[in-house]
Subunit: 647 residues, 2 copies
């Protein structure tokens, strides 16, 4: 099915590097952990601003750091390995690679294997020898998944035990972006928001992170086999995150494209990336992505399992699925979408829907359940799934296989029946020691969005919610990044912890490089708008900095503070191309002769920066003020040289 | 300041014509008024759909009608003239054109005058002779604006008098799109929505329209001198409308571009168009636009008045402004933005803002007030403004000159003080017999949007609200159609009657053709998402039709039902270019081998279309069902010829 990757076969992926305009990647170290180097991005402002650089959250990884020596063939530094010293982990040979893992691709159709192979790690069996690496075992026969037999390894287990891990310290430092700068008046900012029950602290401490994880309200997706990771946290009391999907499909794409898509997506702000590859070369493609990814990688293991049974859903078995879980866990996938809530009894509830089951994983399981008239093996084997995921600290993303595919089907019984089951499974996963988040819709008109958030918090005991959009109307294919951006901003405000992006190509085709960028930027907007409305203490800093730049005609600062500096500059240059206009005290709306903002400057000169008197008091002494103003006579005209027409 | 229009000077504007893909412009006549021809657009579906055409609201005017004989040099048919027969109107010579009206442009810099000149109409003075055309009068000296001296002419006055005008009958028919089709189950649909106090009827009658106008809750912007108009209504109990701004600026654009921008904007769904031209040739540009516009045209008269005093705000006088109102009213402008709420005492309230006053009209008046230390002449002469506007039925759009220009300044005292004054002015305008709507912000974080809507309804006595966005964050210049589309959808849901679009170029440059289209489509999304959430009985019809097309792989129908069929088709073709794929039973997400929607079809085959049993009942008889299902054995594979790889 897949197109030949001959040319790409021996090619090293070309990835985008270098800082964003006006930005530097900087690192800070928590006082308690000087060895940790936590990345941020700092945007330098023009000297006339007389303001410190604006620090923003950075997802781009070492790719934006000119000092980093990039080598895609070897992958990113495996810095987290040092953090495992005191953990009960064992290295082992791992599951042997099977041709099926790449869909039986061979010859010129087989994507090149990643050059470096590392032994996988997992939680040590209590019985196992200290150097278990010397005692290889074949996962195929491994029967020791019973979690009671393995040492605790997950962030959830550490948190419950009161242990603060380096990952927790790292994300606390990372989340504190600009918090100190925001401290004075931060209370006011928090008050200036409606958080719907979220409790966002003034300052994020490692202890706060630990507590949120222990309560199941946040997760740090961080597979022990993904040491290249720059840990991040997902929870409604932290910055709202976004996910970008990539993945080759049966009808398009290649390994190189997928690695660059990942690098490109995180450059613009994707906090996690899901590899939704289907067809051939899934294993090798995923290995290249993981070894080069500083962000958590999520997958939907049932997709690969289906490939292993040649696309025939009813041929799926627990054994094939289990084998796929282990394969991907050993590679380092950080979270798995598991559609264990699609129960046999719920399938008929979708029969009268306008768009039935639109989740690919959901429909695979529905078909399996019907064909065998059996309960889903994902549901019946859920505890074993937990045991496997726990051994590597793969987080659950409990899939919404029955999400609505249209406005007409939103919030129906099928959707909510599954959500209730996801709540039941959440408790089981927690008991097993796993980290859990919950996936949500989909297509939902605005007035039905809050019900989704409220019901998820209630049924799933405040486990983080992770939604796709939702799209607020069905009538705009080609613009579904926007129809869904509206819903995403709202549900982010209501408490959704992570928003899965939608690109302009949704429903129509596979996103290209530009679509990925537009999708990511749109979702950064939604996530940030939600943080602002929640009253996140750090969110408003960037808006205010950009607004001051706008007011003071610091065009370069306005571009550089934008989510997409390149597009902002390009749009400006289309109307006012001359370099001179970058410093001009006017914009294209009013033109050089008259300028609204100039007038405000005059008002400010007249009344000073002290809090303005209220309307009534203002009347008093206005004559005097007006006199001063005339005296000032600050004109709004520009010097002739700046007032030339632009052709 | 303006660029030479030499080449354009003798050129006839080229405009875009022809129907949208799969669409026909159709006309219906109300039973009570067979002479009226009310336009709609019908989208034909594929025969396999076995569904009637989907009727949608059509703003495109005769330009999309292949049967219409287009002549931009003569303008659109002046069909409304027949409706005036029984009205107390007089034709008169009108105000003589002054070189200042075009900014003193001359020679190759002067845009060509529109070839046809019609005598303006106005409400007759009770005293005036029946054929007042024989008694020319110079508006310059006219002193008979006292409204008690002129016959009632406005839709508001007719409505108060219990008179149903052809305009009211026309908009009732126009708004009833698909209502009949929606009647069964419409109640359910209405129940399925949160209207926040709006009362949208099952079926819109002329009497309902009259009553809403009489209550001041809706307006029909329809200057007596714009007989080319296809009347539309603005009110929260009707479909949410959108406005697109065009206009040449001191730094760019030409007459031809502006006329085509108008035609282009309405093609994609703009319900009204504001001409915000500055610089030279304002008068002639506006005439070309009006004579060719089937939608209401709005302006901000203070912009042209400022040009008449060479851009020096403090040189503005009531006389210059009054003269400009008459000039534009005679041309047929349907609504004026009047910033009469920017009072002297409110100016100091903006001194401590992050972005001060960003409204161009607001800052012009603020400067005037400060320079003279006088109350705004728009406020002190408000009743005379009402008298002039009433004589032509120009509707008020009371401007929000103190709207916030940043998240930091939203909902502050300056903004709300002005809003309270607008409420006071609304009552005066109504007493004078004028139609009124109220302009709103701007830049507002999500949690502060509803307060804007609630306060506007309260302070302005339910007069229609007309907002710009609002933008929900400041950090995404280049994407402000999206940052504002989020806020627009929300405030539309809360009750905003019309949404002023924002293009991707906002804050950066002047929108080109593509920006206008993207802005309009984005705002159609916002308006429609709002109507869906309000439970508008007709809104969901199009979503459901498109969702059925999507589910049944009727790709052509999915494209044609989209707000932007061309982009939808183009995106699809980028991934699956072959014509064959337009009928393929798969999409690029899953590929030819496995298809989610196929599986739902199988489920539907298994359980039939009867309402599905609930989860518990479902268990019973499932074995039997599964047996049937296996018997059916409907496979999801496609024939080999459809399953070829696509390169």
């Amino acid at each position: 099915m897949n197109k030949p990757t001959s040319q790409s076969q021996f090619e090293t992926p070309k990835v985008t590097t270098g800082p964003l305009p006006g930005s530097r990647r900087v690192y800070t170290s928590p006082a308690t952990a000087p060895a940790l180097k936590v990345p941020h991005r700092e945007i330098d402002l023009h000297p006339t601003a007389n303001e410190p650089p604006v620090r923003v959250y950075d997802t781009s990884g070492p790719y934006s750091d000119p000092h980093h020596k990039l080598d895609v063939e070897h992958g990113l530094p495996r810095h987290r390995l040092d953090w495992y010293k005191d953990r009960q982990v064992e290295a082992y040979e791992g599951r042997p690679l099977s041709p099926l893992d790449n869909g039986g691709a061979s010859g010129k159709y087989l994507a090149r294997e990643f050059p470096v192979r590392n032994k996988p790690l997992r939680a040590r069996t209590e019985a196992a020898p200290v150097d278990s690496a010397s005692s290889p075992c074949s996962m195929g026969e491994d029967t020791s998944w019973d979690s009671t037999k393995r040492a605790p390894l997950t962030q959830y287990e550490f948190a419950k035990a009161g242990i603060i891990t380096p990952e927790m310290v790292y994300v606390a430092e990372r989340e504190n972006l600009g918090r100190k700068a925001a401290v004075e008046g931060a209370a006011a900012r928090i008050a200036d928001g409606e958080s719907f029950g979220a409790s966002i602290p003034e300052h994020v401490t490692p202890e706060f992170v630990r507590d949120e994880i222990a309560r199941g309200r946040a997760i740090i997706p961080a597979n022990i086999n993904h040491p290249e990771l720059e840990p991040m946290i997902i929870g409604r009391n932290f910055l709202t995150k976004i996910n970008a999907n990539i993945g080759n499909s049966a009808v398009a794409s290649s390994v190189e494209e997928e690695v660059e898509k990942m690098v490109w997506a995180i450059r613009w702000g994707a906090d996690t990336v899901m590899d939704l590859s289907t067809g051939k070369n899934i294993h090798n493609t995923r290995e290249w992505i993981l070894r080069n990814s500083p962000v958590p990688i999520g997958t939907v293991p049932i997709y690969q399992a289906l490939e292993k049974v040649n696309g025939i859903a009813e041929d799926l078995t627990w054994e094939v699925f289990r084998d796929t879980l282990i394969e991907q866990a050993e590679q380092g996938v950080d979270y798995f979408t598991i559609h264990a809530g699609v129960r046999l009894a719920y399938v008929p509830l979708t029969a009268d829907r306008v768009t039935g089951i639109v989740s690919r994983g959901g429909s695979i399981m529905a078909k399996w359940c019907l064909a065998h008239h059996k309960e889903s093996f994902l549901y019946t084997h859920f505890e074993e799934i937990c045991d496997i995921m726990r051994a590597y600290d793969v987080s659950f993303s409990l899939g919404d296989g029955l999400r609505p595919g249209s406005i007409a089907d939103a919030n129906d019984r099928a959707q909510f029946a599954e959500l209730e089951t996801l709540g039941e499974l959440t408790k089981i996963a927690w008991e097993k020691g796993c980290q859990v988040m919950i996936e949500g819709p989909g297509h939902v008109a605005m007035h039905k969005i809050k019900e989704n958030m409220d019901k998820q918090l209630k049924e799933c005991h405040e486990a983080p919610f992770y939604t796709l959009g939702p799209l607020t109307t069905d009538i705009a294919p080609g613009y579904d990044h926007i129809t869904s951006g509206i819903g995403a901003a709202m549900i982010g405000w209501f408490g959704c912890a992570m928003l899965c992006y939608v690109t302009p190509k949704e429903h129509l085709g596979l996103p290209d490089r530009d679509d990925v960028k537009v999708g990511v930027v749109t979702y950064k907007i939604a996530a940030h708008a939600g943080d602002l409305a929640k009253g996140h203490p750090a969110a408003k800093i960037r808006d205010d900095a950009l607004s001051r730049a706008r007011f003071e005609f610091r065009w370069e600062d306005q571009f550089n503070l934008a989510l997409d500096p390149e597009t902002a500059r390009d749009f400006h240059d289309q109307t006012l191309p001359k370099e001179a206009h970058k410093v001009a005290h006017f914009c294209s709306m009013c033109g050089p002769k008259f300028c609204s903002m100039e007038i405000t400057r005059e008002i400010r000169d007249t009344f000073g920066s002290a809090r303005a008197p209220n309307a009534v008091d203002a009347e008093a002494g206005m004559a005097e003020k007006a006199a001063e103003f005339k005296a000032l006579g600050g004109e709004i005209y520009l010097e002739a040289d700046k007032a030339q027409p632009v052709d």
